[in-house]
């Protein structure tokens, strides 16, 4: 796949949240301030990029040569967990206050459907190291896009008088469904045409 193809596929056509339906819990979840949302999004993007690269390394250097495919999931989860702890200790060393003020837990952001899902999807494509990194980064950007859109919509909904039973998360999910409807315009045909058939 070309670089443009990778970016468009992982960010738009197979958007992590809106097409693959991963990472819904942070997106539709409890309302947070814009700064926290940005923090979650950026942190997730960095983690997706790093873990995609780590997964490529694990797959190419360890799992594939020795035919240990059945160990894939535990290895990837371990890699994600270690990356999370690494980031956590780095943040603690830079500034403990930063971690407290961030408003989210690095462990929670690092090990969830979205991050593991992206890692698995990238590995399935059998890309090179640099392409894997780009794919993880694009997926993260797609996630960030969906997250910011959903958070702005949620903010607007919270200021409106909506039907009582639908208030909050239910309407958030319905809105996510409508955003997914709009994003369904980015499909395989779009990708093929964009890349010049």
């Amino acid at each position: 796949m070309s670089w443009l193809g990778i970016i468009v596929t992982f960010a738009l056509v197979d958007n992590v949240v809106l097409a693959r339906l991963l990472g819904l819990c942070p997106c539709a979840g409890a309302p947070r301030t814009f700064r926290v949302i940005l923090g979650v999004g950026i942190c997730t993007t960095v983690l997706m990029a790093m873990s995609s690269l780590a997964a490529w390394a694990l797959e190419t250097l360890f799992l594939d040569p020795r035919d240990l495919g059945f160990l894939r999931i535990p290895c990837f989860v371990l890699a994600l967990a270690l990356l999370a702890l690494l980031l956590e200790s780095m943040a603690l060393r830079i500034s403990p206050a930063l971690l407290r003020a961030a408003g989210f837990s690095v462990r929670g952001v690092a090990v969830n459907c979205a991050t593991l899902g992206v890692v698995l999807l990238v590995t399935l494509e059998r890309l090179s190291a640099l392409e894997s990194l780009l794919a993880g980064l694009s997926a993260g950007c797609g996630f960030l896009l969906a997250l910011t859109l959903m958070s702005a919509i949620r903010e607007r909904l919270d200021a409106e008088r909506v039907p009582r039973s639908l208030r909050g998360l239910p309407l958030s999910l319905v809105s996510a469904g409508l955003v997914a409807l709009a994003f369904s315009a980015f499909d395989r045909v779009f990708l093929a045409n964009l890349l010049g058939r």
Binding site: F34, R35, L149, L157, L166, L181, F183, A185, F190, N193
Partner: protein, 368 residues
């Protein structure tokens, strides 16, 4: 209205701010009235099937709104928004569409996109266009049942111009010449009247100057070609829109920046996708066929789903033009305009938020 608690001491709520039943209902019915000429032309051109589609779309919209709202908020059909939603859904359907499709599209728009969020003024996505997008996603091919316009030779297969273009350009890349000439040369069944008018103009007015108009100019200009019920007659749509803008019911920023940015992009880059070079996009064909004008002037500027600020509206319109360009030239549908608008709707809360925190001077503190 607002005893809705909001963080901070200021209440910034989305439009409309004046919810008096009188003024907003009058505006909505005026918009509906301005769509009637184009709708009437569609029914005249395509006959009974078009009338049925419109009837079903509007009827379903009214019925579902009544069913969902009557037990809770009483009778709301007087505000005209359900009627308008049904009308727009019907106008964006091909005349031969199987009737359950406009019905489902209307129902989807009213129940899921509008009433789930609290009704008039509280939705963030355009109900009619969302219903149309839902119909395309759900029934795709079954929807494209075009009806030949009145006056077409019997036995001609009806095909919308954009659809025909896509087929022609897919088969023969790098065909030179203006897009309309390409379409005419491929044998697209333009009407007899068009042949006579264009022939007369070419013979009397243009031959001495050395130029020649391609066939189809008259048909597309006047709206005598196949297409969706409400999109064919651009002059009637523009007349209605001009009235709405003159009466300040529709703000011109969104539609004009939408059409302008689309026209520029299509004109400059449009030809690149089929290998026809720069500045070969065929702006005339792109604007006069497809639902761009209808969506740009009657759906996109809806104050409920458009940005609050003027700056926001310029960006929004321009963004819609970009989206429509990409979706029409690279997307899987022939006419990307309705989905481009709902894609833009998704970004409106974000645009509002960014403009608000940038302009209010409160910055990050205000965001809390």
């Amino acid at each position: 209205m607002a005893d809705v608690p909001v963080a901070g001491s200021l209440l910034v709520s989305p439009a409309p701010h004046i919810r008096g039943a009188g003024s907003s209902a009058l505006m909505t019915w005026t918009v509906t009235l301005c769509l009637v000429p184009a709708a009437a032309w569609g029914v005249f051109l395509f006959g009974a099937p078009a009338a049925f589609v419109l009837l079903v779309a509007v009827g379903t919209a009214l019925a579902t709104e009544l069913a969902v709202v009557l037990p809770f908020r009483g009778f709301t059909l007087g505000d005209g928004s359900a009627f308008l939603t049904g009308l727009i859904v019907g106008l964006l359907m091909p005349a031969g569409a199987p009737l359950h499709i406009p019905a489902a599209a209307s129902a989807f728009g009213i129940v899921i996109v509008k009433q789930s969020f609290g009704g008039l003024g509280r939705n963030w996505m355009n109900p009619a266009l969302a219903g149309v997008a839902f119909a395309h996603l759900s029934w795709g091919g079954a929807l494209a049942k075009w009806v030949a316009p009145r006056g077409a030779l019997p036995g001609t297969e009806a095909l919308a111009p954009l659809e025909a273009l896509r087929m022609v350009l897919a088969g023969h890349p790098a065909v030179r010449g203006s897009l309309l000439r390409v379409l005419a040369d491929s044998g697209y069944p333009f009407s007899g009247i068009d042949g006579r008018v264009v022939g007369w103009i070419n013979a009397r007015l243009l031959a001495p100057l050395g130029g020649a108009l391609p066939r189809g100019v008259f048909d597309l200009l006047v709206g005598n070609a196949a297409g969706r019920i409400g999109e064919v007659s651009v002059p009637l749509l523009l007349a209605g829109a001009a009235w709405l803008i003159a009466r300040r019911i529709v703000r011109w920023q969104v539609p004009v920046s939408f059409v302008a940015s689309f026209a520029v992009l299509a004109g400059v880059f449009g030809g690149l996708t089929e290998g026809r070079g720069w500045f070969a996009g065929g702006v005339f064909v792109q604007l006069f066929s497809g639902s761009l004008i209808l969506c740009a002037f009657f759906a996109a500027p809806d104050p409920v789903t458009a940005p609050l600020s003027a700056t926001g509206r310029y960006f929004y319109g321009a963004g819609l033009g970009v989206a429509a360009f990409f979706l029409r030239f690279y997307g899987s549908m022939d006419d990307g305009a309705p989905i481009a608008v709902i894609l833009g709707n998704c970004f409106v809360p974000l645009i509002d938020r960014l403009v608000r925190s940038a302009g209010s001077g409160l910055g990050k503190a205000g965001a809390r």
